[in-house]
Every structure is written in structure tokens, then in C-alpha cells.
């Protein structure tokens, strides 16, 4: 029950214990992990605006395993770099709202992990891989800066994801994303006439030069 134990610790205490060897997850472990993620999705959906996308098990399990491997690769430095590319595979399914939200159940910890990995080994292959993944999953990587604009068409098209995405940008005061021309009006709409109180310098950095 490696993955299930990992998820249980992640979602409850936040303290993780991992072994130093590469792992493969048993079927029973994956089944239990799916149940755990499904329950967590049901709880988390109560806090989502509008109606949250339904649970997508493949995406939720993929992101959970991805996060597990990432934590291990970040902490156990003697693991081969080639293993990074072997283990951290991209999601093979479609990037639907359901997949985005289900993956986010664990991927919401990706920015923290990326900061941790950068601190351990700047320029590392793992860091590059994590950055690439974070860019592809912008709903989960708010607060992380990228050179290119993130792919957010699917997020913006879904009412729940769009509102939650805007909420996250405001919560971490992600200036880079809030400045984007297609996002700034949405941020402004959320702040309403209280921008000066809720995000005091928002108007300053979004004003056209």
C-alpha cells in the first residue's frame, strides 16, 4: 500500500515516509488509492464554485503516482537521472476539465515541491521536468512563473475551473498571471470595487503603460 499510504499521509498530516528504491504499485494499492482520491474529491468539490467537474480516476491516479515519484526523486538523489524521464511520464488521456480537477487533487502540491527541488539542486533534470509538467497543468501551478503563457483554454471554458483558477491567482497574488490580458478582466471582476482593499497594488501593475 505504498501509494495509498503516501496519499493518506499527504492528505492528512503532510508528513511523508518513502523508501529509497523505485516502486511499482500493486493493483490492490491502486484500487485503494482510487477510493481514497474519490472520497477526497467529493469533499473538495464542496468548496469549489459552481459545480465541480466529476472525478476522473485515471488522471487522479496518474498525478498521485507522479507526485509520489517526484518526491522520491527529489529526496533520494542517488537515483539515476534517466529514471526521471522514465518514471515521470506525461498524462496519456485527454486534458478535460475532469482530468484537470482530478489531477489537481494531488498536483496542487506541485509548486511547493518545485520550490523544494530547486533548493536541493538548481538546474537539475528533475527541476526541468517538474517545470514542464507544471506548465502543462496551470490550474495546479498558480504562483509558478513560466516563460511562455500557460495553456488555459480548457480552464477558462469551464465555470468552476475558471472561478477557482481566478481565486488561486488572487490568493497567492500571482502578478504574472493576473497581468495577462485575458485574465486581468476576470480578476478585476472578482475584486469588484474593492480591489484597493483586497489586492492593493493590483490596479498599479495591470494599468496599461
Amino acid at each position: 500500500m505504498l501509494l495509498t499510504g503516501f496519499l493518506h499521509d499527504l492528505l492528512t498530516t503532510g508528513c511523508l515516509t518513502l523508501t529509497s528504491q523505485p516502486d511499482s504499485f500493486e493493483a490492490a494499492d491502486l484500487h485503494a488509492a482510487e477510493d481514497l482520491l474519490r472520497s477526497y474529491h467529493a469533499e473538495d468539490a464542496k468548496e469549489m464554485p459552481h459545480t465541480a467537474p466529476v472525478f476522473n480516476a485515471p488522471a487522479a491516479l496518474w498525478s498521485a503516482a507522479y507526485l509520489y515519484d517526484t518526491v522520491k526523486l527529489a529526496l533520494v538523489r542517488e537515483l539515476d537521472e534517466t529514471l526521471v524521464h522514465e518514471q515521470l511520464q506525461d498524462f496519456s488521456g485527454d486534458m478535460t476539465p475532469e482530468a484537470i480537477y482530478s489531477a489537481d487533487l494531488t498536483f496542487r502540491h506541485l509548486p511547493d515541491l518545485l520550490r523544494l527541488a530547486k533548493g536541493l539542486a538548481p538546474g537539475d533534470a528533475l527541476v526541468s521536468r517538474l517545470q514542464a509538467t507544471a506548465w502543462k497543468w496551470p490550474f495546479s501551478s498558480v504562483g509558478t512563473k513560466f516563460k511562455d503563457a500557460e495553456p488555459i483554454v480548457t480552464i477558462i471554458a469551464h465555470p468552476a475551473l475558471r472561478q477557482a483558477y481566478i481565486d488561486r491567482i488572487i490568493r497567492v497574488q500571482d502578478r504574472a498571471r493576473a497581468s495577462q490580458t485575458h485574465l486581468a478582466p476576470l480578476i478585476h471582476e472578482a475584486l469588484g470595487g474593492h480591489a484597493a482593499t483586497l489586492w492593493p497594488d493590483f490596479t498599479a501593475f495591470t494599468l496599461p503603460v
Binding site: K46, E47, M48, P49, H50, P159, Q163, A164, I166, D167, I170, R171, A190, L191, G192, G193, H194, T197, L198
Partner: protein, 240 residues
């Protein structure tokens, strides 16, 4: 030789003897619905309180017990036998009067509000659960997390915090820690601190006044931080 003067009063005038009970040497007795009073000097002017007694007869009394009507030399009666004379202080004992007012009389004051000449920011909003739920379903998180809410049994919702949501309802402002309808002040502003002291059971409880001066207390423990799930579950509990 006269031994003194005697007053005769009706038994119903017993309380009138209270006005002379302070005079020394007086004695009284009761017989056959009459009160007899003796101990008054045979000559000289009678004390003023004695003269004020509602006497039905006044006699001069000689040593043989004969009674002479005032100013006459022929006796018309004898002092009744068997009279039990008592000092006037025992015959008319003191009693405590009944209090005219209750000892803990509490003056009542009806709190009144009047339109205020001042303008101020709202600190709370009284709205409906339906409107509040509809707003919380889709509102930006930042507009929710600055608020706290409490729901009454009749599904009224009190929202506290700033900025307040743009919802229909009654906006309230804070006056001396009391929530009043925005635009209203106490008719007697100096009463506000006193009202708070009198009505507030705990420092962080909220006292909510209506425009007609009625009020209700909202316990701080009933006021919850706003989360979308809390609003949704509350709405569900009300079966809406």
C-alpha cells in the same frame, strides 16, 4: 376634689389614640364598644393632641368614681367597673406601615432609534438564506473569506465583515459595538454603552437592533467563518 378628666371614644376610633400615645401618664381601657382614656389633669388646658381626639364624651372624675360632664357639678354616670387599664403605649402598639412601592422597582425604558445625520460604512448585512446561498455558490473566494455568518431559525442570515456582498437585505452599521440598521442612531446616544453593558452576555456576542428598537442577541459561537461548504451544508440542513 376631682381626680382628673376622662375621655370616652368609640371603639372604631382606636387608631386616633395614636396621636396621644407619646403623652406621659395616659391609660386606656376598652369596654362595650367604647374606649376610655384617663390620666389627664383635672384642671388646666389639655394638650393639643388630646383636644383633637374624636371624643363622644368628656367627664371630670372624682375620687369616688363619679363622672361629671364637662363644666357641670352634677354627676351623670359612674366609671364602669371591671375596666382593664393599660398604659397607652401598650394599648396602641406601633406597627410598621406597608411599603407603598416595591423595593426593587425597575424603571422601564423603551429603546428608540431615529434617523441619523451621519453617514458611515456598513459592517453587516441581514439577508435571506436563499440569496446568500445563491451568492456563495459562485462568488469569488476572496469575497467570502472576509466574512462570517450566522443563520436564524427563520432562515435570516447575518453576514459580518467587509466588504459586504452585493445582496438584497438590510445593511447594518456598528454603533458602540451594537449593530443598528444603517442610517439609524439611538434616540439617546449615551445609552449605547449602557445597553451594551446590560444586554451583552459575552464581550464578543453581537447585539442586533431593528428599526423599531427591538433587539436580538447572536452568540459569537453561532457565527461561523464563511466557506462555500459551510454555506452549502447549512442550506441543505434547512431543506431548501
Amino acid at each position: 376634689m376631682m381626680a382628673g378628666r376622662v375621655f370616652v371614644l368609640a371603639a372604631a376610633d382606636r387608631e386616633a389614640l395614636g396621636s396621644v400615645r407619646h403623652l406621659p401618664g395616659l391609660q386606656a381601657a376598652e369596654v362595650a364598644d367604647q374606649l376610655w382614656l384617663r390620666g389627664l389633669s383635672a384642671t388646666g388646658e389639655l394638650p393639643l393632641p388630646v383636644r383633637g381626639l374624636p371624643a363622644v364624651a368628656i367627664y371630670a372624675l372624682d375620687a369616688e368614681g363619679r363622672l361629671f360632664p364637662d363644666g357641670q357639678r352634677t354627676p351623670t354616670a359612674r366609671l364602669p367597673t371591671g375596666l382593664v387599664w393599660q398604659p397607652i403605649r401598650l394599648f396602641v402598639p406601633l406597627e410598621l406601615p406597608t411599603a407603598a412601592l416595591p423595593a426593587q422597582g425597575t424603571p422601564a425604558y423603551r429603546v428608540r432609534l431615529r434617523p441619523s445625520a451621519r453617514a458611515g460604512a456598513g459592517a453587516a448585512l441581514l439577508t435571506t438564506l436563499t440569496a446568500w446561498h445563491a451568492y456563495a455558490e459562485t462568488a469569488p473566494e476572496i469575497r467570502l473569506r472576509c466574512l462570517r455568518f450566522a443563520v436564524a431559525a427563520d432562515a435570516r442570515v447575518l453576514l459580518l465583515g467587509t466588504p459586504l456582498p452585493p445582496l438584497p437585505g438590510l445593511e447594518l452599521w456598528l454603533r458602540e459595538g451594537l449593530l443598528l440598521p444603517a442610517g439609524f442612531d439611538f434616540e439617546a446616544p449615551l445609552l449605547a454603552p449602557l445597553l451594551r453593558q446590560k444586554l451583552q452576555t459575552a464581550a464578543d456576542d453581537v447585539l442586533l437592533f431593528a428599526a423599531d428598537g427591538s433587539w436580538e442577541r447572536v452568540l459569537n459561537t453561532d457565527i461561523l467563518p464563511v466557506t462555500r461548504s459551510a454555506v452549502r451544508l447549512t442550506f441543505k440542513e434547512f431543506g431548501r
